[in-house]
């Protein structure tokens, strides 16, 4: 019953477990492709708009990062789950313009860039990054 009434809370993605990409797939009506790897698995969702979302899953089965790229921004509330509100309320870094924003909190980094028909970005929890994984890999 709780699952039905509070799907977003229960199925939070960033920081959630490896089942959350499937939940995101259903919510966003996307196709899903899983690419296993030694350091992490990448669950890639292709949305109806053409935007591609990649969810990074650690060997322990935890989603430690999400990234997106495409003509429209995806549902970041769904992708970031409980982290979304902290992202929205944070003070971003860049001075001026609307083509980029970076939020760098102790427990959350969000980097979003782009313009009409070309958006991209990524969000990750530094404390959850597997050893040796760099931010530049998250794309």
């Amino acid at each position: 019953m709780l699952l039905v009434s509070l799907p977003f809370k229960v199925l939070a993605t960033l920081g959630g477990d490896a089942n959350t990409p499937q939940a995101d797939q259903r919510k966003m009506q996307a196709t899903l492709r899983v690419s296993p790897g030694p350091r992490y698995a990448v669950h890639e969702l292709t949305l109806a708009t053409g935007t591609v979302v990649r969810e990074y899953v650690s060997p322990q089965g935890q989603v430690f990062a999400v990234a997106w790229k495409g003509p429209f921004k995806p549902d970041l509330r769904q992708l970031m789950g409980d982290y979304f509100d902290r992202y929205v309320q944070a003070t971003p870094v860049f001075r001026g313009g609307h083509s980029a924003a970076r939020v760098a909190l102790p427990g959350l980094v969000v980097h979003s860039t782009g313009r009409t028909r070309a958006f991209s970005g990524h969000a990750f929890v530094p404390q959850l990054l597997p050893a040796g994984v760099a931010e530049s890999e998250l794309r």
Binding site: L76, R77, G96, G97, T113
Partner: protein
């Protein structure tokens, strides 16, 4: 903080016209067809300035003033600090910057339901109704232009799939950093066929009293690139910004010139025409043998946004995301268009923290770089525009150099 300029909505029409002329919103560029002598006054140049803006914290944001009028009347208002953005299409004004006596017509769908738009930017989103206005800039006019009014109190409830596009609601002048934005990019309709064919979550809605519904909206009803609706000089724009010293400047000035090859002041000259991808509006950049196929020019980007491996990132929290190389780096990119032509684009990336801290009041820099989260693109933002002439042609429009969409420099 109040950034609105002269309000020229006077009841006496003769006085109103005079007031509007004084405010710079006067006669139509195409209204009077002048003979060969004397030379016509070119009404296609609008002064552009880079300064700190209404938020007092902007850097590398170019602004102009625009005059908007109640459709079909001389009830007009000139509004300053409108962000000049080749990365989007359409005029958007923050509701609080509009005079209450300016009455704009609501844009409705075929069923009479008001059309309201969500526009996600990379850093946040704006939400508000599509309204019809008459627009004057320099000597150009776009009559019955669909624009967006951002943060209109008549539509306070933002749909969930709009706010979930992320970032803050930028529905105030302080949050937006400008009184509005004028998108003069490659597209004529701001969302185009994407939104005409099917509802795109976080794009267009109709909002009858029962609530907002995500819908498809025909191209012609969408917010429009105003330049394409001018009667003349309507195939694109030329941005000419003054050069800057390497340590930046307090402000920068330049011109937004309407039309491409339509007047003596907007000839393509020896600029190279680079057709952009008609769907994604991109070019292919090549630097050091590596190609970046999703690249673009964008006056609305306040930095040169480059993949992370281009330079050392700043380490301080305050400048996180900017580049802080120990010495200035010089790059030369080959920008290639979809038509196969290419042009060299040189730019420099200096230490952003050093530059910003050296002169905290400076707002214009030609060498600020920052991380682009897209590893397959470079975004040549406003720093690239200083000291150059950069053309942006609208899709489907003819120019002496070919048909848009293209950029040229």
């Amino acid at each position: 903080m109040m950034g609105t300029g002269a309000f020229c909505g006077l009841r006496s029409s003769a006085v109103a016209v005079l007031a509007c002329l004084l405010a710079g919103c006067g006669g139509g560029g195409g209204g009077s067809s002048s003979s060969s002598t004397p030379p016509p006054v070119l009404g296609n140049v609008q002064a552009m300035v880079v300064d700190a803006g209404p938020s007092s914290n902007d850097a590398n944001v170019g602004f102009i003033s625009v005059t908007i009028c109640t459709p079909g009347t001389s009830n007009c208002q000139t509004i300053d600090h409108i962000d000049v953005d080749t990365g989007s299409s359409g005029l958007r004004i923050i509701s609080s910057a509009l005079s209450p006596s300016l009455s704009l017509t609501q844009q409705n769908d075929a069923s009479g339901r008001p059309i309201v738009e969500c526009l996600p930017f990379a850093d946040g989103y704006v939400w508000g109704p599509v309204k019809i206005a008459d627009l004057s800039i320099a000597g150009e006019q776009a009559m019955s232009l669909p624009i967006q009014v951002i943060g209109d109190p008549s539509y306070p409830n933002v749909p969930g799939d709009c706010s979930s596009s992320g970032g803050p609601n930028e529905g105030t002048v302080a949050a937006f950093g400008a009184n509005g934005i004028i998108g003069i990019g490659n597209l004529q309709a701001d969302c185009g066929t994407y939104c005409a064919g099917q509802p795109v979550p976080g794009a267009y809605y109709v909002c009858p009293a029962s609530g907002c519904i995500n819908v498809a909206v025909a191209n012609s009803l969408q917010v429009q690139n105003p330049v394409g609706l001018f009667s003349v000089d309507n195939n694109g724009v030329l941005i000419q910004m003054a050069s800057l010293p390497a340590n930046g400047a307090a402000t920068a000035s330049g011109s937004l010139i309407f039309g491409i090859g339509t007047q003596t002041n907007n000839a393509l000259g020896n600029a190279t025409i680079l057709n952009v991808d008609p769907t994604y509006l991109t070019l292919t950049a090549t630097i050091g043998g590596v190609t970046y196929p999703d690249s673009y020019l964008d006056s609305g980007s306040s930095a040169l946004f480059l993949p992370q491996n281009f330079a050392t990132a700043c380490t301080s929290q305050e400048f996180s995301g900017y580049f802080c190389p120990p010495t200035t780096l010089n790059f030369s990119a080959i920008m290639q268009g979809a038509n196969g032509t290419s042009a060299a684009a040189g730019f420099s990336v200096a230490n952003a923290e050093t530059l910003f801290n050296a002169e905290p009041s400076f707002t214009a820099f030609n060498n600020i770089g920052a991380i682009n989260s897209d590893s397959t693109s470079i975004d040549l933002g406003m720093p690239f525009f200083y000291g150059r002439s950069v053309f942006t042609a609208i899709e489907g429009k003819q120019t002496p150099g070919g048909t848009g969409p293209f950029v040229a420099f």
